[in-house]
């Protein structure tokens, strides 16, 4: 089957090259049939890539070790779900997944936008085709998943860290986010290439941006939970370069989602918006480069490869192209609308943007500096947690506060007196929260205290907003509360979906502050019968057992858990020994208190032959709010994404009128 996979990828290469060249020529010369043909080629490239992907999946499921990639990332004993996820367990498969998602997105995006923005789509096609061509070239010429060799009796197996249910979904979600940012980028570039700098590229890509941003956010949370339960160091985010690589485009896309509202409402920030969308896409390429090139050592990077220079070249081309196009179209992008007041919603969104971009760039500097230093000076430097924590507090805390302030400030200008009146209740709630926390002894961490007070402020503004909107609707229509609330949300999904997303970020902030600023840790070597105490818990090591798993030997230490004299059951922690892979993994024990959101987290660091175990135990208050935030985040995104029939009608009327006029001269 390898020849079918290779042929399918060659077809994708030909189709994307044709879509790039024929599409570019058709757009330049105004050739309708050629433009449609190029669009069809881009759509067809999805199907040829899908065939290549299916060939690889079948190779894994059938243990076809004549495929070198399958032999290096799977084994006969590997459970079926991990044979499936082994597809993206290495570089070649990851690139193929990237290409599959890209061509899928591209096909759907150009097809859906073909009526409303047809003069834009003809330029979008070659841009998307160019990106697809770059990735297909890597898969065909540099790093093919369809290389064949003499089949060994068994494969080398999959890295044990990847044998986790999260690895079935986390990389896909992350790639849906990374790759999804190519769509708004392509439309922005299409708008600049065609000189159509009106709002259509924003209208056409609004939902794509939210989809990509949501997937990237969910992918990061899934990755954080994977690190928490699988890597076994007691945390969920370590400012690892690969983790940062996903956070940076997400921050840039967050800034874009906010600033684009200023363009829609006021017609301002056009240059800034195309810059942000380009930054987000280039950072997503940079993220893929970090993950796939092997230039950084990371718990998330499983690759050593030679594609680094190709990727760097790709990033340089994207940056030069984007900067060149923005420079070329500067006169058309400039607007006459001005910021009327520093106290207005657009000003608040601008502050939000500056903070987000500042945070993004400081993370970029911290991530890139070790590589730059090694390349230029030959010295290895480490940018550690204190650097990132410092900037997270400096930029993150004001961002948290702005989340509560910005949505309630009037557009254009607002008076300070009006603001004070609007924020008197949320301010009082924040103050009361701070005082209560100090009274309960939570003043040990000033950043934690500030984060909680700001979080209370934002939550109060959100609850107030929903309550006020519902009351206003009830006063006018007499509807019952549930009806009034659901119609309130339905009438302005982007606004109220945004509030729900803000609530998710608040939950995340509370979870991060609680689990990092107020956590407890204890370490002790125990023999059976001995106990350890931490944050009110007493853990008694009962016994050590061994059992056979599907493809590993599992050693588990069993501990009894008690708190305040109450028996809370048992928790297991230990290690898995994988025979095929010849590797050992930490398998942590977690006991969750669903009422308080607290975790008791047990690591069996060293297991000795005499049965003694060196345990490290963490108590992490509120950590489960981080995972809860993920569900709330998705809910908010779905609300914001849900189609609005009134908005669709309004846009249909606007674009139909322009289209009718444009069709008339062309067909006569």
């Amino acid at each position: 089957m390898a020849e079918l996979g290779r042929a399918a990828l060659l077809l994708t290469l030909g189709l994307s090259a044709y879509a790039l060249l024929a599409g570019g020529f058709a757009a330049w010369k105004g050739r309708r049939r050629l433009a449609h043909s190029a669009r069809n080629a881009l759509i067809a490239s999805f199907f040829s890539t899908l065939v290549a992907a299916l060939v690889l999946v079948v190779g894994f499921l059938r243990d076809d070790f004549s495929l070198r990639y399958v032999a290096e990332h799977s084994s006969r004993a590997l459970p079926t779900q991990y044979k499936f996820s082994a597809f993206w367990g290495g570089q070649e498969g990851s690139l193929l997944l990237w290409l599959l998602i890209l061509t899928g997105y591209a096909a759907l995006a150009v097809w859906l936008a073909r009526k409303r923005a047809r003069d834009l789509v003809v330029w979008v096609t070659p841009v998307l085709a160019g990106i697809a061509l770059g990735f297909t070239w890597l898969l065909v010429a540099v790093s093919s998943p369809f290389d064949v060799a003499a089949a060994p009796q068994d494969g080398s197996g999959l890295n044990p860290s990847l044998q986790n249910p999260y690895m079935v979904i986390h990389p896909v979600a992350l790639y849906l986010g990374y790759v999804g940012l190519a769509v708004p980028f392509a439309f922005a570039m299409g708008a600049l290439l065609s000189g159509r700098t009106d709002e259509r590229w924003i209208v056409a890509t609004r939902r794509w941006t939210i989809v990509a941003w949501t997937a990237l956010g969910v992918g990061q949370l899934l990755g954080a939970h994977w690190a928490y339960v699988e890597v076994g160091w007691g945390g969920y985010y370590a400012w690892d370069p690969v983790e940062n690589a996903a956070l940076m485009p997400w921050l840039a896309a967050t800034a874009f989602l906010h600033s684009v509202m200023i363009q829609e409402k006021r017609g301002m920030l056009r240059i800034w918006n195309v810059t942000l969308v380009s930054l987000a896409f280039c950072l997503s390429l940079f993220g893929t480069f970090l993950t796939r090139s092997g230039v950084v050592t990371s718990i998330h990077s499983f690759t050593k490869s030679s594609i680094g220079p190709w990727f760097l070249g790709f990033i340089v081309v994207a940056v030069v192209f984007a900067v060149g196009m923005i420079w070329l179209r500067l006169p058309q992008l400039r607007t006459t609308a001005k910021l009327e007041s520093l106290v207005s919603r657009e000003a608040a969104f601008l502050y939000n943007n500056l903070l987000l971009v500042a945070l993004c760039l400081t993370i970029l500097w911290g991530t890139a500096w070790p590589m730059v230093s090694e390349a230029v000076r030959g010295e290895s430097v480490v940018v550690g947690r204190p650097y990132y924590d410092f900037f997270l507090r400096i930029f993150g805390l004001p961002l948290l506060l702005l989340m509560g302030i910005a949505p309630l400030v009037a557009w254009r200008r607002a008076s300070l007196r009006g603001l004070v009146r609007t924020f008197v209740w949320p301010g009082a709630v924040a103050l009361a929260t701070g005082v209560t926390l100090i009274a309960f002894g939570a003043g040990s961490s000033i950043p934690g205290l500030v984060a909680y007070s700001f979080a209370a402020f934002v939550l109060a503004t959100i609850v107030h907003e929903f309550a006020r909107g519902t009351a206003a609707r009830r006063a006018l229509t007499g509807e019952p509360v549930p009806t009034a609330l659901s119609r309130l949300i339905g009438r302005n999904r982007r606004r109220y979906g945004g509030y729900v997303v803000h609530a998710a970020i608040v939950l995340l902030a509370i979870g991060v502050a609680g689990s990092s600023a107020y956590d407890s840790v204890a370490e002790k070597r125990l023999t059976p019968g001995q106990s350890l105490e931490v944050a009110g818990y007493t853990l008694t090591y009962r016994s050590l057992g061994e059992r056979d798993g599907p493809n590993a030997t599992e050693v588990r230490a069993l501990l009894d858990v008690r708190r305040g004299g109450k028996d809370l059951g048992t928790v297991e922690a230990g290690k898995n020994s994988y025979s095929v892979e010849q590797q050992v993994s930490n398998e942590v024990g977690i006991r969750t208190d669903y009422l308080t959101g607290e975790d008791l987290f047990v690591i069996a660091e060293q297991v000795r032959d005499d049965g003694a175990v060196f345990f490290r135990v963490f108590v992490k208050p509120l950590v489960n709010l981080i995972w809860l935030a993920g569900f709330v985040f998705v809910l908010g995104s779905v609300i914001a994404l849900w189609p609005d029939a009134r908005e669709e009608r309004r846009l249909a009327t606007r674009y139909a009128s322009a289209r009718e006029r444009s069709d008339t001269p062309a067909t006569t």
């Binding site: 089957m1 020849e3 079918l4 042929a7 077809l11 189709l15 058709a26 105004g30 050739r31 309708r32 049939r33 050629l34 449609h36 043909s37 069809n40 080629a41 759509i43 067809a44 040829s48 065939v51 047809r118 003069d119 003809v122 009106d198 409402k265 006021r266 309630l408 009037a410 557009w411 200008r413 607002a414 008076s415 007196r417 009006g418 609007t422 006020r468 909107g469 206003a472 006018l476 229509t477 119609r487 009438r491 302005n492 606004r495 109220y496 009134r646 009608r649 309004r650 009327t653 606007r654 674009y655 009128s657 322009a658 289209r659 006029r661 444009s662 069709d663 001269p665 062309a666 067909t667």
Partner: protein, 112 residues
């Protein structure tokens, strides 16, 4: 061999898809792209400006009614928004555009 045949069949099918616009219209009356002319682009931009101005006015009214915006702030802004809306409508009139249809008006948004 069988896979080579499958690959060839796939190639043929995809080439047909790519050639479809030419197969469907071998000799069209016009092969020009339906692009917006300068007048249509001005109209589109004017319609965007109109929608922006009306949406801003609507949002201000809704925020004021719900108590988000104080009377003082409302009075400071509403005049310029109304002027912008009137100017956008006049610009559309000058371009000879159709009026915004009743189906696209948004009474419900007054209470969000």
């Amino acid at each position: 061999m069988i896979w080579a045949l499958v690959a060839a069949a796939l190639a043929v099918a995809l080439v047909v898809v790519v050639a479809l616009p030419f197969l469907r219209e071998p000799a069209p009356a016009s092969d020009a792209l339906h692009e917006l002319g300068p007048a249509e682009r001005r109209l589109l931009e004017a319609e965007e400006a109109r929608d922006r101005a009306l949406a801003a006015l609507q949002e201000l009214e809704a925020d004021h009614r719900a108590g988000r915006i104080s009377d003082e702030d409302y009075r400071a802004v509403v005049g310029s928004l109304r002027r912008d809306a009137a100017e956008a409508l006049r610009a559309l009139d000058r371009l000879g555009a159709r009026p915004r249809s009743a189906g696209t008006s948004d009474a419900g948004a007054k209470i969000d």
